[in-house]
Symmetry: none
Subunit: 402 residues, 2 copies
């Protein structure tokens, strides 16, 4: 029996409320002053909360492994992120808020430049402008609506990137990339990776041919390279496993998409942190479980901007009182991965975790920081254990065995 | 190779002595005064012992999972408690000190009440007295000795509960419950869950018919409901895996039964903690490994009585000097699960663990408490790693690989 199978077998419903507050990329490394963003931020509300909570660290995938947003979130949602891979095409579609059906095949596309002999000379067509990209996508969408029995949906992302989705019965996403990943060679032929994908590969091949025809007078973007063909992973629904009505509140499309992918209900919200907390308050009575996603801790981490990151932490700190007034039975503050400012990117470091419930032995830590979390009472745990731990603290798991 | 397979391959014999002192349900949550039972208890001997020991926490099954006594103990004995399930019928038989053979099929029975149409009106027959229960079991035992080639053994437990064991060649325990788990419906028919169980199901069906005949004039207990049909799990013997002569000392039948199930030798002992320690002293020369079980930390936890739990801890504390005088090479004090007084039941919380051996780096902790264990040098480990850790500290595991 899998970890999740065990949880599914033991989970029961009750009236408790749980909040999983994800501060994306929260974990940090010390700057020149020796302080991380969490250590630098002025957080009176987190400080008070920490004193009645228990701290720990979560390892997103495995020690040393830096996760993308997909595996980072799947782990935190209780799924094995190694067994439940989300293909790049699907992730790219989720990132622009496209809703995918279970048999859709999605791929990421690059506009690229080739010479008269079909040799790729620039894989990104000079990183054309997003505006130009949108124009080309509109032109393609206008001329390619359907290939065979499959609907073809083309959506601009930005610069040289777009998404193409093939929608129809019996499609199969096991198709090799056409992107050769280098210049000076031709684009690769469309190849099915297994027998079932032969039909879909023909459609994709036809798509490439039509696209080349449409783009033939466009400069420099006169062809496309496709990669990351993928379909929705067939994963069990979060609500069914954990017996909860789960709401997702996120103002970035990728995270709405990831929540939708596991079957959470995505509640519309605004662009600000304030609006996300307001949405939580407004929907408090309608759900048992809330996933609330804060993006900008990660964005500032990616920019190497520790002060910006600390400022976002302070902004979330300012919203805590209204969240705590709701008296959630279980509150977890955590992250899908670390995005240390000095690394300007995702990292492998475990993520700080805070758990508040009636049934904990508190650490007596005074601040929610990486250092205190590393010696916290929860220890260093796998991210996939967060949901079972939340359910346990909500008294939503029956005893295992007699 | 499994974890246990690796240990089996590396285990060697020597003259060291190991003690696993299990204080059932030891882990606690803070009461209104902020203290757990361990924090509250006056334990000069544990305090002294702690200063030369290393502390840690054990997760019985997996994070968030509350184990029953079966999985809790199997984990602590080094078995995977998810793969080695003990059925309720077997556990119930162990709980009244019945010795089971490997092909016996055991089930838990309820005396129940049905109306003239066979509709169950009370699943517990008004929770009849244990005395009445004993009378009915005696009557049934008197009239049903054998069905087909199988011996039938009926034993009273208490109130409405009894155990029935079918003993014979080729029996199979994969049989569905007859207990419908609700009133207003008939008892379920006896159904084999696989082909091999068809013959056994017929015997059980005949047992139910004969029982109904015997009980037909009894009020209110005029029928029986059966559930948890089970056979002994086929698990490797503790002594063979770990190369030890293992003795179990426990004054509650369930724990003697669990020890017998893994192949430990059960040494007779008295009803008190004092008598258990005396038994250990008397048998010191005869075995390498001692499992000593203290029940009442759990019992008081189940009652929500933290003071009672603290008092039992103090009583064990008083016996520690005589145990330490034996100079065990390895002493572990731990637990199968937590039973926090505020929860009045088993819980998912990791269990405090203490390890004394010549080969440790001590924590310099001054008290054996949940908080100190959570930051102890052993970290938060899986309960199934306790036995390998004990063997290692007893220098009973060879090097792995060259």
């Amino acid at each position: 029996m899998t970890r999740q199978g065990l949880v599914k077998q033991l989970a029961i419903e009750n009236n408790t409320k749980m909040v999983l507050l994800v501060m994306d990329g929260l974990g940090d490394l010390p700057g020149k002053d020796g302080k991380t963003a969490l250590e630098k931020a002025h957080t009176p509300n987190f400080d008070r909360l920490t004193q009645s909570s228990v701290l720990g660290m979560t390892v997103p995938v495995a020690i040393g492994i830096t996760p993308g947003s997909g595996p980072g979130h799947l782990g935190l949602f209780g799924y094995d992120p190694i067994k439940n891979l989300i293909g790049r095409g699907v992730l790219e579609a989720l990132g622009i808020d496209m809703e995918l059906g279970s048999s859709d095949v999605a791929a990421r596309g690059n506009f690229a430049a080739m010479d008269d002999n079909g040799i790729i000379v620039d894989r990104r067509a000079g990183r054309l402008s997003t505006e130009e990209n949108q124009k080309l996508c509109a032109m393609m969408s206008d001329r390619i609506k359907k290939i065979g029995n499959a609907e073809v949906i083309i959506r601009s992302v930005k610069e040289h990137r777009f998404v193409v989705v093939f929608r129809g019965e019996g499609l199969c996403g096991d198709i090799a990339d056409t992107d050769p990943q280098k210049t000076g060679v031709k684009a690769l032929n469309v190849q099915p990776l297994k027998q079932d994908a032969a039909g879909t590969a023909k459609l994709v091949d036809e798509f490439v041919k039509q696209t080349n025809e449409i783009l033939k007078r466009s400069r420099p973007a006169n062809t496309v390279l496709l990669r990351g063909f993928a379909q929705y992973p067939d994963i069990p629904k979060f609500g069914e496993i954990n017996k909860v009505r789960a709401a997702a509140i996120a103002n970035y499309p990728m995270y709405r998409g990831l929540a939708r992918l596991v079957g959470m209900e995505v509640v519309p919200t605004g662009d600000t942190i304030e609006s996300e907390f307001e949405t939580l308050l407004e929907n408090w009575d309608k759900y048992d479980f809330f996933y609330l996603h804060i993006k900008k801790t990660d964005s500032y981490g990616e920019d190497g901007n520790r002060d910006g990151k600390a400022h976002i932490i302070e902004e979330v700190d300012g919203r805590l009182p209204e969240l705590l007034e709701l008296k959630p039975d279980v509150l977890v503050v955590g992250s899908d991965h670390s995005t240390p400012a000095p690394l300007k990117g995702h990292s492998w470091h475990p993520s700080p975790l805070l758990l508040l419930s009636k049934y904990i032995v508190s650490d007596n830590s005074k601040r929610f920081t990486e250092r205190n979390c590393a010696s916290g009472g929860l220890g260093i745990m796998s991210a996939k254990d967060v949901i079972p731990l939340m359910l346990a603290n909500a008294l939503r798991l029956k005893k295992f065995g007699a």
